[in-house]
């Protein structure tokens, strides 16, 4: 693989008696979008915590070269700060104030919230808040984006819309992305590679490459096919030899 940015080498993680990972290895290369799916409690979030350095493995090695940003599952915007102030957190490390201002404006434009810069999170809709979270994480020339079920609290249509938004943002600001999600469709619609984890202690049961440019239609045969493969891997659908995406009734 070319230019590995993130990696787990023979990593084991246990919390007390609970073994989450046993000898797990995974490489993610620069600009790759990897989605991680698997049953609840299999250690998907632990994977992100390893990459972000929030937890250390019991054994094995973690590689992470670059500036990492995490987007959390629940509201993690500071409610006492405006949308602009929250995004500006992501620009703190840039010393130059003029540059900070310029990039802040740029991020607000990117998420199409220029008119809401002075609004507080509680004055924004769920979808808008999540866009601000994404902007905060994307701001300031970062390399790696760790997404922990970023859209799980949104309604279905907003979720679909935000997937398109994320694809568009990444087109403008390419990043290496690890997306942890329960949403199989989301994984198939966004990722270059989908990693399917097993029950705890988690191992990689299957990796699926989705060679299709973003943004992708949810109903594209390749996306539908990927969903089917993931569901089959999780034991939720039957594998069929001559499986067709859809049949027309005339």
């Amino acid at each position: 693989m070319s230019n590995k940015l993130l990696g787990l080498e023979d990593v084991s993680v246990s919390f007390g008696q609970v073994v989450v990972f046993r000898h797990l290895s995974l490489d993610i290369s620069e600009s790759e979008f990897v989605a991680v799916v698997g049953p609840s409690g299999c250690g998907k979030t632990t994977l992100l915590n390893l990459f972000s350095g929030f937890i250390k493995p019991s054994s094995g090695g973690v590689t992470c070269s670059g500036r990492v940003r995490m987007v959390y599952q629940y509201d993690s915007l500071f409610p006492w700060q405006t949308a602009a102030q929250n995004i500006a957190l992501g620009l703190r490390h840039l010393g130059n104030e003029g540059e900070q201002k310029r990039q802040l404006k740029e991020m607000l434009r990117l998420i199409k919230l220029e008119d809401f810069a002075g609004h507080y999170p509680h004055q924004l809709s769920g979808g808008m808040r999540q866009r601000v979270e994404l902007a905060r994480a994307l701001a300031g020339n970062t390399d790696i984006l760790l997404l922990d079920e970023p859209f799980s609290s949104l309604d279905y249509l907003t979720r679909l819309r935000l997937r398109r938004e994320l694809a568009r943002m990444l087109e403008e600001l390419p990043r290496t992305v690890v997306l942890v999600t329960h949403d199989i469709e989301e994984a198939a619609q966004l990722a270059d590679r989908v990693v399917v984890l097993s029950e705890r202690p988690a191992r990689i049961c299957r990796q699926l490459a989705v060679a299709l440019p973003r943004p992708r239609e949810l109903t594209h045969p390749l996306v539908v096919d990927t969903v089917h493969h993931i569901l089959t891997e999780l034991g939720l659908e039957q594998d069929q030899e001559n499986w067709v995406a859809s049949t027309s009734v005339s």
Binding site: S52, F54, V68, R69, M70, Y72, Y74, D75, S76, F78, P79, W80, Q81, L89, G90, R92, H93, Y120, P121, H122
Partner: protein, 257 residues
């Protein structure tokens, strides 16, 4: 906006209630349900109020009471909020101190009056001491509860974005607890105002509480009611001042969810 006239009308409603209450009061005095000596009329109270105002005594008492409340309350805020912050962040200390804090909070400050007089004599000091006791423990409790309930994700985000220890305090902890602390300030300021009146009745030689006690000793029920009215009005005014704090843009999230 169609709601505008309704809002203006709604603002007049408290005035209406006041007028009705005054009306009932006047009728009761006119009907002589109680003798005039123990049930002064609104007019007598207004006259007494004017008398106290002209003599300058009312203003002196008001200043004395406000000075005590402000001093005692400020001391409680300056020590209670830091104590609450510290206990909120240190689980072991919290476990150690919480029962004691709850014990003292449940103890009416008035029970301390004998000691207040024995230790500090008569005047400003015993009242300030009692106001401090009344406000300190609830403030510590409210602050530590607020700190302990800050969602941990805020601290993770702060760590992700490279916050130092001072920034964690000033830019995460303090703004995160501000709405709850402001509510606690309003409640405890009300308590402090209740206590100053009681403290001055027993351990004072001036102040609104003393004025009421003095009026009672002189059987001047008109002056007593005038004092009561002033105490009530100041209490409402104090709360209105602190209520303004809830309108600060960066704390509104705490009241609108």
């Amino acid at each position: 906006m169609t709601e505008e006239p309704l809002a203006t009308k709604a603002r007049l409603l408290p005035l209406l209630v006041l007028l009705i209450a005054l009306g009932i009061w006047s009728v009761l005095t006119l009907l002589k349900v109680f003798p005039e000596a123990v049930f002064p009329s609104p007019l007598a109270v207004a006259k007494g109020f004017g008398e106290e105002l002209r003599s300058g005594r009312l203003l002196d008492d008001l200043v004395a009471s406000l000075f005590r409340v402000t001093t005692g309350f400020a001391l409680a805020v300056m020590s209670g909020i830091p104590a609450g912050l510290w206990l909120g962040r240190h689980a072991r200390s919290r476990i150690a101190f919480l029962p004691a804090i709850n014990f003292f909070r449940s103890l009416s400050p008035l029970a301390w009056i004998p000691f207040a007089i024995l230790w500090f004599g008569i005047g400003d000091l015993p009242a300030i001491f009692l106001i401090f006791l009344a406000s300190f423990f609830p403030l510590v409790l409210a602050t530590l509860a607020a700190v302990a309930s800050i969602p941990s994700v805020y601290f993770r985000v702060a760590r992700d974005y490279g916050f130092g220890n001072t920034e964690l305090l000033t830019q995460v902890t303090l703004p995160a607890i501000a709405p709850q602390v402001i509510t606690a300030l309003r409640v405890t300021a009300g308590l402090a105002w209740l206590v100053v009146v009681a403290a001055e009745m027993i351990a004072g030689h001036d102040g609104l509480g003393f004025a009421i006690w003095d009026a009672r000793n002189g059987l001047r029920m008109d002056l007593l009611v005038a004092g009561m009215v002033v105490i009530g009005v100041i209490g409402v005014a104090l709360d209105r001042v602190l209520w303004r704090l809830t309108k600060i843009p960066s704390v509104r999230w705490g009241y609108e969810q």
